[in-house]
Amino acid sequence: MSEPILITGAGIVCAIGLDKTEVLHALLSEQTGIKPLKYLKTTHKEFPVGEVKLSDEEMATKLGIASDAPTTRTSLMGMMALEEALTEARLNRHDRESNNVAFVSGTTVGGMDKSEQYYNDFLANDSRNAYIATHDCGSCTEMIADHFGGFSVITSISTACSSAANAIITGANMIQAGITDMVVAGGSECITKFHLNGFNSLMILDQNNCRPFDATRAGLNLGEGAAYIVLESASSAAKRGVRPLATLSGYGNACDAYHQTASSPDGEGAFRAMEEALAMASLQPDNIQYINAHGTGTPNNDQSESAAMRRLFGNAMPFVSSTKSFTGHTTSASGSIETVICLLAMKHRFCPVNLNWQNADDECVVPVHQKLSDIALHHVLCNSFGFGGNDSSLLLSDINL
């Protein structure tokens, strides 16, 4: 890598908190955000979910958006997370306009929350036209960007559950290639009936709280949220006088090329993504202290991901945990939400616990199931895998090395 890419700001909104402080507190006190359904209007009350504990109206009020303005839950959560990231990186509108700053956001359901409410109105009459225009992925990114302004390039990535991780990879490539000075990257996704029912039809939702890597695991819990990080070169951070949180020292994107919704038994895509991230940073497997696993809690994912980790790390297995046991599976946003969780873990020297793990499975790694504090995390991997085998892995490193 020519010049290190630094992370100089981070913002997060998810089931365990509306900012980094709240999320950190929940992680340390082992309080899950997965609860009975409250905000989504669905008949499937049997599934616990990791909802952001605010209604759309409450979020709009917090953001100072008029209650009658057409918005989507994905864009509202995105705005809240972006505000925290921009504030920490001291990247106000003037700074954005006087630099070349891109915004790259990952989402898949986009404005589906409104489309599924109004689809029949869309077809029959003119009453909900505003929400036709907010249906697609790109419009969510536009709404989030326009709420703050000053971005010179925007684009959206949609690779299902690895969207946010891939947005971060695209952002890092843009900076390395000299296309932009800074990139704010991540993702946002709300729970919708569309994908709750889709995942239900695939029979991968658990009616109990999810248990990633446990022998009795029976599926995932859906979550929602948004997170963004500010990426910039070391020289840009130095010029602006901002303090970096960590280095994005490597990343890998590979395709499992196995099945549209299932992962291969040997975890080929996951293995390649992690291997590529290590190679880019010129690190060896035993340099990694912690992996924030994709760890959805489905029988298939956790077996496949474990196989990939075992292939790469052998006997030098780092600490592994899935924080989806706290947040639920935040789908397109999971890559950036879990990146921010990794940043918190590195800064506060702890390994997040993989909640609800009790029974070892021969086909799975044994995750961190008891509090591990005062641990130096120099190098951390964060995995995100999507439908279609869109597998990505991000490597975060300590800035003090």
Partner: protein, 345 residues
């Protein structure tokens, strides 16, 4: 800058598919909306694939496989797709069942093929490709975003080749919705179509259709930002302003759209001969991919069909060397792409 080439390009659109017969005898359309002319998919796909896959997936797979076959690269290092609406037909099937039949009887088939990345991942599964795989969805800049990603990674030498696609299907019901919000239909004289276009973009010059000179994308740019981006792009492409023989725009016969191009041309290229492509290929979110295909086809043939020319300024030369393509979406997002004739490399 590393020299990058478009080695092959294949389309399934509202023109005759998988060939460039449209350059001699284009299909003409009056209506506000038409669907693509599909090839006989059974010639290209297995019986299971032709039966099970939705239209957008079959088209994407066939244009991809043909573009790879017509290139000198068997296995691209990256598969990058741009799509504005993704697999909207399957999305609507699932959405409609959800809204009308409730939440109890939904089958997974349509959901499994509803995500935008189904396209890129299907291509990787079909071809056994484990390389970089990403999908962009940014309205009228979806394809441009995918091309920009390929360009960046080729320049960084992270990859030597990329299969870059632009894919959008348009269902009758979604056409109705897009009419409601004024994207197509209304006063638009052109047609709303569909797009499946795939390119092999490589660092290998062998038998290239043309050279990709560079790409810039901008959001809410000021006039100065547009001018600066254009000037930087020309420098990177090692061209002077006078080397641009034609400017290709995305005029589609809709006043609000065409006015933006007219203003841009007036400001930046008042003396340039102009080209269009949406009069032949129609409008859709990834139509800029068909624009790139049109420009690349002209450079490959070393001639420009008369029906692409507009604006009244005659070209000094009929064998185009360099074409600048301009794309914009709702006067908010802009892109510039330069294509150079492969013979001037």
């Amino acid at each position: 800058m590393r020299k990058i080439y478009i080695q092959s390009a294949e389309q399934i659109s509202i023109q005759k598919p998988l060939c460039d017969e449209w350059m001699d005898a284009p299909e003409l359309y009056d209506g506000p909306y038409t669907r693509s002319i599909d090839p006989n998919f059974k010639q290209y796909l297995s019986p299971t694939e032709s039966r099970r896959l939705g239209k957008i997936l079959k088209r994407a797979l066939v244009t991809s496989v043909e573009a790879i076959r017509n290139s000198h690269t068997e296995m691209p290092d990256a598969i990058i797709t741009g799509t504005g609406l993704g697999c909207i037909e399957n999305t609507e099937f699932f959405l409609s069942a959800l809204c009308n039949d409730g939440e109890q009887l939904l089958k997974p088939t349509y959901f499994m093929q509803s995500t935008h990345n189904t396209i890129s991942s299907l291509i990787s599964i079909h071809t056994g490709n484990h390389g970089y795989n990403v999908t962009y969805s940014q309205k009228g800049m979806s394809f441009d975003s995918a091309l920009l990603d390929a360009w960046i990674q080729l320049q960084m030498s992270k990859i030597d080749s990329a299969l870059v696609g632009g894919h959008d299907e348009m269902t009758p019901s979604y056409f109705t919705l897009l009419q409601r919000i004024g994207y197509v239909g209304g006063d638009m004289q052109g047609v709303c179509g569909e797009c499946a276009v795939s390119f092999m973009v490589t660092a290998d010059a062998t038998d290239g259709m043309c050279q990709l000179g560079g790409i810039k994308m901008l959001y809410h740019p000021s006039a100065d930002m547009l001018r600066n981006a254009l000037s930087a792009l020309l420098t990177e492409a090692e061209l002077d302003e006078q080397d641009i023989d034609f400017v290709m725009t995305g005029v589609n016969g809709k006043k609000s759209n065409d006015e933006v191009y007219d203003k841009l041309v007036e400001t930046l290229f008042p003396d340039k001969p102009l080209l269009r492509y949406k009069n032949v290929f129609g409008e859709c979110y990834s139509a800029s991919g068909l624009g790139l295909y049109t420009a690349a086809s002209c450079l490959k043939r070393n001639s420009i069909p008369e029906f692409l020319k507009y604006g009244g300024i005659k070209s000094k030369r009929d064998d185009p060397r360099n074409i600048l393509m301009v794309n914009q979406y709702e006067n908010k997002m802009f892109s510039f792409i330069i294509l150079k004739s492969a013979c001037c490399k």
